[in-house]
Amino acid sequence: MKIDASKPLEYSTEENSNKIFGFWVFLGAEIPLFATLFTVYFVMVNRFASGPSGSELFEIGPVLIETFLLLSSSFTIGLAVHAMRLGHKKAMMVFMAITLLMGLAFIGIEIDEFFTYVHEGATLQTSGFLSSLFVLLGTHGAHVSFGFLWGVVIMIQLWRQGITPATANKAFIFSLFWHFLDVVWIFIFSFVYLKGLM
């Protein structure tokens, strides 16, 4: 492996920079994926048949906590990458752990929210609106859950192998993914919850 010392560790080999570029292309594919889900949601948003509408269902409290958690975790993953650039393995691990814990709390609240909805009789089967709501939120939630597991796998590797070109590359790509989820959430927050509450 040729290592180019003039570049940050995560970019330092050809394989590494290809992987980062490849991940950007992959995120390019995630955009039409979520765009399609949002489109489906907008088509369905007023089709609540005999079920509840968004304004009857949504509560701002938990959503604000979710938003706070995800935005902060995007910040802490940034700090983790910063620590990585400085070569502080311990600080990096701590920031990653905080990120993942916030992600976990986010998932917890979302699951609780889903249970509340179902408890109130708003299920996936109730109406077109609810089907699209559950699938849009669920896809984002599944991404966060997957991200959690992925993050754990990377932390184990960091812990065992230290900050190497390979682990730095993985951690950096993970951070891109995490930021992306944050961006998607901002759209969900604005166009699903805020708009739905109006």
């Binding site: 292309v25 399609t36 089967q125 077109g128 993985k170």
Partner: protein
């Protein structure tokens, strides 16, 4: 558990198929054990990460699927050959046209093209590999097991029966109660993920791994077409992913996306399907344009005419391909404004396509043409595809489409674009690049025989369908009465289909014959080629190029030969290679189990295999195998051997 759901009832044809599948499987297992080939198969093929071998496996699978889809086609043509035939019943006919369309487009045309691009693209850009060799293996096995999942449907549980476009509410649980459309959603989903990964992989490969000096505007045309195709894949396939997921939710979990009540909306499916589906057509046709461009330039011994306009027309087509989807349902009540918009965008595609046709004609003009088999397919493509295009413009007129919609006219049209545009192209590409991969040519005389059978019979099969459509014969009807007067033309079409089958059988016989009797090509450049894939030895060594070539012009190899521009500079050094891995194959198998479990709502195996997928992914991440080096001496020895020198 309700075992009844796994059975397919009352179809002697299907029982026959079941028995022959079982016998073939047992035969293969016994054969492999007897000749002690299990180890070879595993080490050399199932675990390979070599882009050339992966490409060969894609092409093999695609050829198999061509015959599977072809048998479906023959059954349909036989059933409709004369009025009131009772060969297939209505349900079976529904399943046959559905799987025929699905298999031909998703499991034959597309993988064939992906196979060719796997073999050729790294060579054309002077690279040693694709950007992510392991992911490439993952792509292949996901495609393969997705295809297998769809293929077992007709013996286990029943095939999808709502057409390849699976319109709702027809494809809903209510109107298609068998598991067929569950197979549809899961098999396409699994192989679709594989395709998306291919898209990412090849975009990175082409943009980042070109040989030094090969700027974008010096790339060979096939590489350009593949780059654009993969960009379309990356934007179109996520839409399919979502559509199929929603379909699965509707059918398995009772959600209300495409239902008729409770706020569902059936037209949403039609829109989502064709937002992916129309670009999909270009995913199979643009690489074909690339293949033809290479072949025309090579066998006319001329530079491709209008290189820049070729590139731009493909770019324009790729953008337009996303703006025309509603031309598939003009008649489904979307209003005059919407129909006009889609009518205009559709017709606009004819402009860049026309530019390409003229460029090919100008390349041929005053060329020194050799009529090899690949060139014959290319020359036949031009007029036949033009008929397809002209009838396409006829269909694009929204108001006129009320006459043709869902008639045999449409069936004729899309076969007139897809068969020359995709099938002829992959066959031409297959003949053209075959010697590169295997080191010997296919027999040209047999190749011409097959060509004439195929090209003539194609027209005999499909031209009558234009008239049948204008006479009012609707698409997907499984039988008709004698009074309709559809009989004679259908019989003619059946005769053509028999001719097509003969052509394809000659093609396969040619592969067999040539493998046994054709002499080896010694210099790796049997056609006097122009692009870099011909600049290395045949068969291609594992590392592709002993020294990475340096490019100064378009058609770099041609200028190297003509003007003595050196391609290779420097000495041979050790070469880094990725090592084989069984994990992509295992991942494919688990995905297959996962898909199968979901098809039949077997939740426990589904959850277990879902967890299995995550575990395999995690172990892939933990892998610290960084490949190995081939020492310089070994490279030098291999090169000498391939050039026929004694070591």
């Amino acid at each position: 558990m309700d075992l009844e759901r796994f059975k397919v009832h009352g179809e002697p044809l299907i029982y026959g198929a079941m028995i022959s599948i079982a016998l073939a499987t047992i035969g293969i297992i016994i054969g492999l054990t007897y000749f002690k080939k299990w180890g070879y198969l595993w080490r050399e093929w199932l675990t390979t990460v070599d882009h050339k071998r992966i490409g060969v496996m894609y092409i093999l699978a695609a050829l198999l699927m061509l015959f599977r889809g072809g048998i479906d086609a023959m059954m349909m043509r036989l059933q409709t050959a004369a009025p009131e035939l009772k060969f297939l019943d209505a349900q079976h006919y529904n399943e046959v046209f559905t799987t025929h369309g699905l298999i031909m487009i998703l499991f034959m045309a597309m993988p064939f093209i992906i196979g060719l691009m796997n073999v050729i693209i790294p060579l054309q850009i002077g690279a040693r590999d694709v950007a992510f060799p392991r992911l490439n293996a993952v792509s292949f096995w996901l495609f393969f097991f997705g295809a297998m999942l769809l293929n077992i449907s007709f013996v286990i549980g029943g095939s999808p029966d709502a057409g390849w476009s699976a319109y709702f509410p027809l494809a809903s649980l209510e109107f298609s109660p068998t598991v067929g459309n569950n197979y549809y959603s899961l098999a396409l989903q699994i192989s679709g993920i594989g395709t998306l990964i291919t898209g990412v992989n090849f975009i990175v490969t082409i943009l980042k791994m070109r040989a030094p000096g090969m700027t974008l505007m010096k790339m060979p045309m096939f590489t350009w077409s593949v780059l654009i195709t993969n960009i379309i894949i990356v934007f179109a396939f996520p839409v399919l992913t979502v559509a199929l997921a929603l379909m699965m939710f509707d059918r398995l979990f009772g959600s209300q996306f495409f239902t008729m009540a409770n706020g569902g909306m059936d037209m949403l499916w039609a829109n989502l399907f064709w937002v992916w589906g129309h670009p999909e057509v270009y995913i199979v046709i643009l690489p074909a344009f690339g293949i033809y461009s290479e072949i025309i330039a090579t066998f006319s011994k001329k530079n491709l005419y209008g290189y820049t306009s070729m590139v731009f027309s493909m770019l324009i087509i790729s953008v337009l391909s996303f703006l025309v989807w509603a031309h598939h349902f003009y008649t489904m009540g979307q209003g005059a404004m919407v129909n006009s918009f889609f009518s205009i965008t559709t017709m606009a595609i004819a402009v860049p396509t026309g530019v390409k046709i003229f460029n090919w004609l100008f390349t041929l003009r005053k060329g020194r043409i050799t009529f090899t088999t690949p060139m014959l397919y290319t020359l036949a493509f031009i007029p036949i595809f033009t008929i397809g295009g002209v009838t396409g413009v006829m269909l694009a007129m929204a108001s006129a489409d009320y006459q043709y919609h869902n008639t045999m006219f449409l069936v004729a049209h899309f076969h007139y674009v897809l068969i020359p545009g995709a099938v002829f192209a992959v066959i031409a590409g297959f003949h053209y690049w075959f010697p590169k991969v295997f080191g010997f040519r296919l027999n040209d005389r047999l190749g011409r025989h097959a060509f004439w059978w195929i090209a003539i019979s194609f027209n005999v099969t499909f031209f009558p369908l234009f008239f049948l459509g204008l006479m009012g014969m609707t698409r997907r009807t499984y039988t008709y009465s004698a009074e309709t007067g559809y009989g004679p033309l259908n019989m003619l079409s059946f005769a053509g289909a028999v001719g097509l089958s003969i052509g394809f059988l000659i093609l396969v016989y040619n592969i067999y014959w040539s493998t046994r009797y054709m002499p080896k090509d010694t210099n790796g450049d049997p056609w006097d080629g122009r692009t870099l894939e011909w600049a290395t030895n045949s068969p291609i060594p594992a590392y592709n190029f002993a020294i990475v070539p340096k490019v100064e012009t378009r058609d770099a190899f041609w200028s190297a030969k003509q003007d003595n521009i050196p391609l290779y500079e420097g000495n041979i050094t050790k070469i880094h290679m990725p090592s084989n891995t069984g994990k992509p194959f295992i991942l494919g198998v688990i995905f297959f189990v996962f898909g199968f479990s979901l098809v039949f709502s077997l939740w426990i195996p589904a959850i277990l295999s879902g967890i299995g997928i995550l575990i395999v992914l995690a172990t892939m991440s933990f892998d610290r195998d960084h490949g190995f080096y081939i020492p310089a001496e070994e490279v030098i020895a291999t090169e000498k051997k391939l050039r026929g020198e004694t070591v």
